[in-house]
Symmetry: C2
Subunit: 118 residues, 2 copies
């Protein structure tokens, strides 16, 4: 919210003073404010993903121990359906959220196969 408010203030100011557009992205304060928010969000994403891989690593070890297969297509189908629904509620493109989950699951299965081989 803070960055959106800052943006509105900055836009109003630049309309009043007729400031020329910044010649490069590095000099633009509006863009810099957006980027600060994106950087905060990306740090959160990295830490949440780190925790997700900690859990899926434990799942991989457990599956190898009790000889369950690394991939589970039924579970994946349920996860994708659920995330598509959550995405719609959050105004995120459901196609993107499906691609995103498949991207993560591919990485997880690669880890599980490694754990099985090791």
């Amino acid at each position: 919210m803070a960055s959106a408010e800052l943006l509105l203030v900055s836009r109003d100011m630049s309309d009043e003073t007729q400031a020329p557009p910044a010649s490069s992205t590095a000099e633009d304060p509006v863009l810099a404010s957006f980027r600060k928010s994106i950087d905060n969000i990306d740090a959160a994403l990295i830490h949440i993903l780190a925790e997700r891989f900690r859990i899926t690593q434990a799942v991989g070890e457990y599956k190898a121990k009790v000889t369950l297969p690394p991939a589970d297509p039924d579970r994946e189908a349920r996860q994708i359906a659920r995330l598509r629904k959550l995405s719609e509620e959050a105004d995120l493109d459901p196609e993107f959220s499906e691609k995103f989950l498949r991207f993560i699951i591919e990485e997880v299965i690669r880890h599980h196969e490694k754990a099985r081989e090791g």
Copy 2:
């Protein structure tokens, strides 16, 4: 933390009682506990990604307005370097975090190009 503790308890119990491994993933309580954590994390990821795309959509509109190019290779290089460093600190594979950010950025640029065309 709760699910990790549950896991330890479940493992101890199954060692004591020599319970046979579940015949399918659907019946395994240890796996079910892990999956509950993964589902919670995925819901968090979807909502954080939805917010990230809200911001990058505003960035796209702003860039189109002040005629800045959709892609910014210098910014991307700085983002990747920063996330690789954060990943190392969080014990996440830096290669994965780089692939992840490129995956997100590709989607963002596709959105920006659409906004430019529209």
